[in-house]
């Protein structure tokens, strides 16, 4: 446990030692801030059926920023170690492969969660200025942030897998970006293909991150997406672990 914690803290510190962390943070907060501002000013002009918090988590801006941050966060995880050769001292120390894989995964997850902390402020500021809550209930906040956590886990695990497959960070980033974007669009296929059966449409709907977010941001905690994302994360991490172990045979 101590080794895992040591690896984890090294990963988290690694983010804040590199300029990538700050660039991602700035980029993300800029987009999120603009998103929030637009949503509020939009709602100022007309009557709408949703709350500020729902609008914020379901806007195009949000999704645009969202799919872009994962390749940036995860590309360096393994690829950098392979490139610099630091994998050699790392793996000749008495640490287990799974400790390294989980250390990197949770390190990235923690950094990802840190990105979201400032957005909590938005809702606080909104309440203070307008004297109106940004959401209709506390559960809506909980649902939104829970969905962020679930999606984050899944997408970061995809990033882990692509990073372990190459020593080139750019390649890792491009592959994970494609994979995440394709998965994301899989949920949109139901709106494009009109001549498919409703069963197919439902099936595709189960994969739709957008739909999940709509549900969760209303405060409806559906167990199906929870099972989907947690199990897919486990699958991706298992694959990462296997791919990481296979390095020994590929040398």
């Amino acid at each position: 446990m101590r080794k895992f914690y040591t690896l984890l803290s090294r990963e988290v510190r690694g983010y804040f030692h590199s300029p990538i962390a700050y660039i991602v943070l700035i980029f993300f907060l800029l987009v999120a801030g603009v998103d929030f501002y637009f949503q509020v000013s939009f709602m100022n002009q007309r009557q709408v059926q949703y709350t500020v918090q729902e609008a914020f988590f379901n806007s195009v801006f949000f999704w645009f920023a969202f799919v872009l941050i994962f390749p940036l966060i995860t590309m360096r995880l393994f690829a950098e170690e392979f490139k610099l050769g630091t994998i050699e001292p790392l793996m000749t120390a008495p640490v287990r492969d799974w400790q390294v894989v989980l250390g990197k995964f949770f390190g990235a997850l923690i950094f990802y969660l840190v990105l979201w902390i400032p957005t909590l402020l938005y809702f606080g500021i909104f309440l203070k200025i307008t004297n109106q809550p940004a959401a209709h209930s506390g559960g809506a906040y909980l649902g939104s942030y829970l969905m962020l956590l679930l999606l984050g886990m899944f997408y970061i695990s995809i990033g882990c897998l692509t990073s372990v497959l190459t020593r080139n960070q750019i390649i890792a980033a491009v592959i994970s970006f494609c994979a995440i974007t394709l998965l994301f669009f899989l949920g949109l296929v139901q709106y494009i293909l009109l001549d498919v059966s409703s069963a197919t449409r439902d099936l595709l709907g189960y994969f739709s991150a957008i739909e999940h977010m709509v549900t969760f941001s209303r405060g409806v905690i559906d167990t199906r997406p929870i099972v989907l994302y947690v199990s897919m994360t486990v699958v991706m991490l298992t694959l990462t672990y296997q791919a990481f172990q296979s390095r020994k045979w590929r040398l």
Partner: protein, 311 residues
């Protein structure tokens, strides 16, 4: 401490090392010698548990490096070639991190980090970013890291590569001192280093062990245990024919320095022909200004074993 049996590693079918067999006993300083690409790094990486062998087995302190990798790894300190380090960490931070990874008890971490910094001369750079360190300091950080958990065995891959002569001397002294408490396997292609530090030497060439002995025995075994240098005025004599007649002389090469002739003689192992040369010179009335026996160095052994055609 190290036991290697029939160790073979192939890369894409090409053998990097073939059927290595050797042992390193407790407290030995074993030098691992060979030209570039001979398989030194491959062997060390296998021993350090970084990659598995294609066939054969190796144990460290009785633990198989592959099937009991974790126990084997906790008994050794490994310093990889070129010392890859995290450039974004400070020296102190890195050593504390490594100590935790190597299961140094939490209350001893500060003490151990202090000790290895003292030992490796890292006191004044503790707060510095590793990325800003010079090659010599990076090397020392790597060595300090290898020593952190007080391992029984140190495996050092080219510990003095890229260092200046002063630093090489310092590292050599350090290794010698470490050899008092640790078993050490070190690779190098700097020969004087081996002669000065190692108790035994393995010479590896094209993935095979060519020799494994103490430096002294290796020197003794070599066919041409050096040569003799003679500088003389031989008058009307040619010199070469006369010298070649002496028993034990294999070959004579000449050079000219003004009216002086310089003869380089290759002699049989163990033969001392200087007395005969002196007799010859007095008989033929040669004026001699130098007559010296050149001692064979490990370099000769190395060249002979890894490159027989040159001689």
């Amino acid at each position: 401490m190290i036991n290697v049996e029939n160790l073979t590693k192939r890369y894409a079918g090409q053998p990097a090392i073939q059927n290595l067999n050797f042992e390193v006993g407790q407290g030995e300083i074993m030098g691992f010698l060979g030209p570039n690409g001979a398989g030194k790094t491959t062997t060390m990486r296998i021993l350090a548990g970084f990659m598995p062998p294609t066939s054969g087995r190796a144990t460290i302190a009785g633990f198989d490096v592959f099937s009991q990798s974790l126990q084997a790894r906790s008994h050794l300190g490994y310093m990889p070639e070129n010392v890859p380090l995290y450039n974004d960490m400070r020296v102190d931070e890195y050593l504390v991190y490594r100590a935790a990874l190597k299961s140094v008890p939490p209350r001893r971490v500060a003490e151990r980090v202090g000790d290895v910094k003292e030992l490796c001369g890292l006191k004044e750079v503790g707060k510095q970013l590793i990325g800003t360190l010079s090659k010599g300091y990076r090397q020392r950080v790597g060595l300090a890291d290898a020593l952190l958990h007080e391992p029984d065995l140190l495996i050092l891959d080219e510990p003095t590569i890229g260092l200046d002569p002063n630093q090489i001397r310092q590292v050599r002294e350090l290794i010698k001192n470490l050899g008092k408490q640790h078993t050490i396997l070190l690779s190098t292609h700097i020969l004087p280093e081996v002669e000065m530090t190692c108790s035994r030497v393995i010479i590896i060439h094209k993935g095979r062990i060519e020799a494994c002995d103490t430096p002294d025995n290796l020197l003794g075994k070599i066919r041409q245990a050096g040569g003799v240098l003679l500088e003389a005025k031989t008058g009307t004599d040619n010199g070469v024919e006369e010298l070649k007649k002496i028993a034990g002389v294999r070959d004579v090469m000449t050079d000219v320095d003004g009216e002086w002739k310089i003869f380089s003689l290759r002699v049989e192992s163990g033969a001392d022909v200087r007395e005969q040369i002196f007799r010859l010179a007095t008989d033929r009335h040669w004026t001699v200004r130098e007559l010296t026996q050149r001692r064979a160095t490990l370099e000769d052994v190395f060249v002979e074993l890894t490159h027989p055609d040159v001689i």
